[in-house]
Symmetry: C2
Subunit: 331 residues, 2 copies
């Protein structure tokens, strides 16, 4: 932990009061009072690491609830680990704090981290706190473990495999549309559900490790279902065919956007789902369904893997639907 | 690697062209074409992890050479690993890019990373690229390995131990004073040396692992020598006495600030040294000196550890010098 004194609570005091308790359960964090943390990786395992930054004005808004910002920053990283089959072990946090962030914001932020630490049985291992003249920026590095050689990858999908996705698709995109006032009439319950799905990912930590031994390829859906499946198709050198009628949409999203091919296309082109998309041979459907039931995470078969390249998106009439903008473009 | 399409080179193209080659030597990085990276940690070792962010306008300036910004961002993290005795293995990079950053900047930045990857025998393991409306922000997480249970800590200094520091102290502070125009006349060679020491840390990667078995406590000097030794004193529950006359100042800094107690105090209160300060029992001086010679890193004995608390700074007359501002305050 690289910290310096401060105004406000004082940065050292801030670390002591708000952040250090987040590391209390990790002996290798040394109470955040050292330059670095240690982590023991069991000799049967390999380490899986990922980093994602979230930025005010890009990934969240200044008046978003601080606890939800914390949970989003952590969740997008845990989602990457889950999609690789990893059991999360801990995380590091680089916190770049602008002047507008006060102690109450930080208190709620730390409470959000604490809540998801309990939910996912992980601890803060270390981090860095610094001032910034720019937007609030949080970079998290999450670490997990997988049995050696078993990490799920984007490579590995084979012709004949089936394509699956967890949960429902497009809710976050719907939530963003509601927040932007682009949606029509929406009930209070649907509004809350969709915005919640936009603001806080539900990383599929309970299911990810159970996919090992069954899934042939996997990734987390963050750029949009079709764009992300294109990554699997690309790295695995296969063609992926998705049937619009089988893409799972939530009741709330169906009420918002309908359930025709156009609605599914919109849902499958929106980002921030943080579901797991994966491929698996047809013979493992039963153990997969058992794993999903045990984890309490719904899975849906949405298509198949073929020889070829790219992603095809089939409408209810069996014809290709053109995909002109498969995912969120960042720059 | 969580990436999205873009303008400019296009973010995907950018990753392919500039960033992916940095990961070519790390099989677990999967060419940056997956959600996460894997790292095999030998069963005899524990993982050591640290994260530090550097921000335009806080830790570097917009017109600083991009290669030096890269090397600073990496160096401050490698310095933390070195101070813990860790052999660096790899790093992750979260890159938050504002609109003013163009492809030429990114090319020079990647070249700087490549240079230090060769120097320190490490590879990029993964990362995240995103746009930001604010200052250029780079968060690096560095990972290394140490024999299990041997990671050097801030805790462990014992009364009777001697206090050592690598290299010279205060050069970065002098370089910053020169850059700010606060210094008087300074020769071109001294100017270049001091500014270089401010802009690019020389992480003591060659020495750190050799301190294991000899040093009782260690940290990297980033906040200022006296402030950082206060951390060791605090966590180890000892008193540290530093003799001003023994603190190593470079010839260039002595020409800039002189070599009296006031100059040493200024040097020992400046930050960004990225040297290693450590304690060790008197009996290990010979193996320590041999280790330092082998690593090609000079070390100097600057004081002793006593019963008590805090840091005392003794002038040439043997009296305590008051320390009113021991380190850089960030907020």
């Amino acid at each position: 932990m690289h910290v310096k004194p401060s105004r406000r609570l004082g940065e050292f005091a801030l670390i002591e009061t708000l952040v250090a308790p987040l590391a209390a359960g990790a002996p290798g964090a040394f109470g955040l009072r050292d330059d670095a943390a240690t982590l023991a990786v069991p000799s049967s395992c390999e380490l899986v690491v990922t980093t994602d930054a979230v930025i005010e004005g890009v990934h969240f808004l200044r008046d978003d609830p601080p606890a939800l910002v914390a949970r989003k920053a952590l969740g997008v990283n845990l989602s990457d680990l889950a999609a690789k089959g990893a059991v999360p072990e801990g995380y590091l946090l680089a916190l770049c704090i602008p002047a507008w962030v006060g102690d109450p914001w930080l208190e709620e932020f730390a409470a959000g981290l604490a809540e998801d630490q309990r939910r996912f049985a992980i601890h803060l291992l270390g981090g860095d706190t610094t001032s910034t003249p720019g937007p609030l920026t949080l970079a998290i590095t999450a670490m997990g473990t997988v049995r050696r050689g078993c990490t799920l990858r984007r490579a590995g999908a084979q012709p004949g495999d089936r394509v699956f996705v967890t949960g429902t698709i497009g809710d976050a995109g719907g939530g963003l549309a509601v927040l932007k006032g682009e949606a029509g009439a929406v009930s209070g319950g649907d509004r809350e559900f969709l915005i919640g799905r936009y603001r806080v990912p539900s990383p599929r930590v309970a299911l990810g490790p159970k996919l090992i031994g069954h899934a042939s390829a996997a990734l987390d859906v963050s750029d949009g279902l079709l764009a992300d499946l294109a990554h699997i198709a690309d790295v695995s050198a296969v063609r992926i065919v998705v049937e619009a009628a089988r893409v799972p949409l939530s009741p709330a999203l169906r009420r918002l956007w309908g359930e025709g091919d156009a609605a599914v296309k919109r849902a499958a082109s929106a980002g921030d789902d943080y579901e797991i998309a994966f491929t698996a041979p047809p013979g493992v459907r039963v153990p997969l369904e058992n794993a999903a039931a045990t984890a309490g995470v719904p899975i849906h078969e949405i298509g198949r893997v073929e020889n070829g390249s790219g992603v095809a998106f089939l409408g209810r009439d069996g014809r290709d639907i053109e995909i002109e903008r498969p995912g969120y473009t960042h720059f």
